[in-house]
């Protein structure tokens, strides 16, 4: 009886130790990889440079089986950003499309794919993606409207470009870029009546 009690206690202690170890892995490994990939993408965006190490980090993040579709989509968006910075637009578009497939409600994936499409002079598709990002209430809607304004301008649709620069200025009043672009436009209005 005493021996059985000792064995049971040891078994319980072992299970507890195993549980603690597994829990530790969950909280340390997962978020760190996605955060590293995300930080690499943010830094690449700031510096205009994305190295092979950054791609490897985000490649590992993309390959991991995440708990939520949002996490999977974010990994693809971050790696897509790295490809975009490197000028590898086909790969960027592919990753942003994978992100949209994983999480069709992720507004930033549409915006970012729009940027990559625009770099390939596919302005009609880019405009459709920017519009979808705005419809999904993208976080920085002013930036998305600005991107769409540029795409419209590149198609020669100056009226819609002007209106989108104006929208960008309204949505992000502290940002001077929309006002600078609006200053380039010469607008006339229809006479009243």
């Amino acid at each position: 009886m005493f021996k059985f009690g000792m064995l049971s206690a040891a078994a319980v202690a072992g299970l507890l130790a195993f549980g603690a170890s597994a829990q530790e892995s969950v909280t340390v490994l997962g978020p760190t990889l996605l955060a590293e990939c995300s930080n690499a993408a943010a830094q690449a965006q700031r510096t205009g440079h994305a190295g092979i190490n950054d791609l490897e980090t985000c490649g590992a993040a993309v390959d991991r089986a995440w708990t939520t579709a949002r996490e999977t989509a974010l990994a693809f968006v971050d790696r897509g950003t790295l490809y975009l910075v490197r000028g590898e637009n086909d790969k960027a578009i592919s990753d942003f499309s994978q992100a949209i497939k994983a999480d069709p409600a992720l507004a930033s994936a549409y915006n970012d794919r729009g940027v990559a499409l625009s770099a390939q002079h596919r302005q009609a598709e880019a405009i459709a993606d920017f519009s979808q990002a705005l419809a999904l209430k993208a976080d920085n809607a002013g930036q998305v409207a600005f991107n769409r304004a540029m795409a419209y301008e590149d198609t020669g649709d100056l009226k819609r470009a002007y209106l989108d620069y104006r929208k960008a200025a309204e949505l992000n009043p502290g940002w001077d870029q929309p006002a600078r672009q609006l200053a380039r436009f010469n607008v006339s209005h229809a006479p009243a009546g």
Binding site: L34, Q45, T68, K159, A161, Y162, L163, A190
Partner: protein
């Protein structure tokens, strides 16, 4: 034949008017817009990547 062509033309004009009306609604009373070329250093931007919240569990880490 002439009647058919007239009918097609009338439908086209009506469609064109409807589209123009739609544009007017969107564009307000803007009728002429010109713009000087955009400076080359004005770039589009991706949405800034956001690190995920800490301590989210993942499937593959379980033993």
């Amino acid at each position: 034949m002439r009647l058919v062509l007239s009918a097609v033309l009338a439908v086209s004009l009506v469609s064109g008017s409807a589209l123009a009306g739609q544009d007017d609604e969107i564009l307000g009373d803007l009728v002429v817009v010109t713009a000087t070329p955009r400076p080359a250093d004005v770039k589009m931007a991706v949405q800034t990547a956001k690190p995920p919240p800490e301590k989210q569990p993942v499937k593959t880490a379980s033993k």
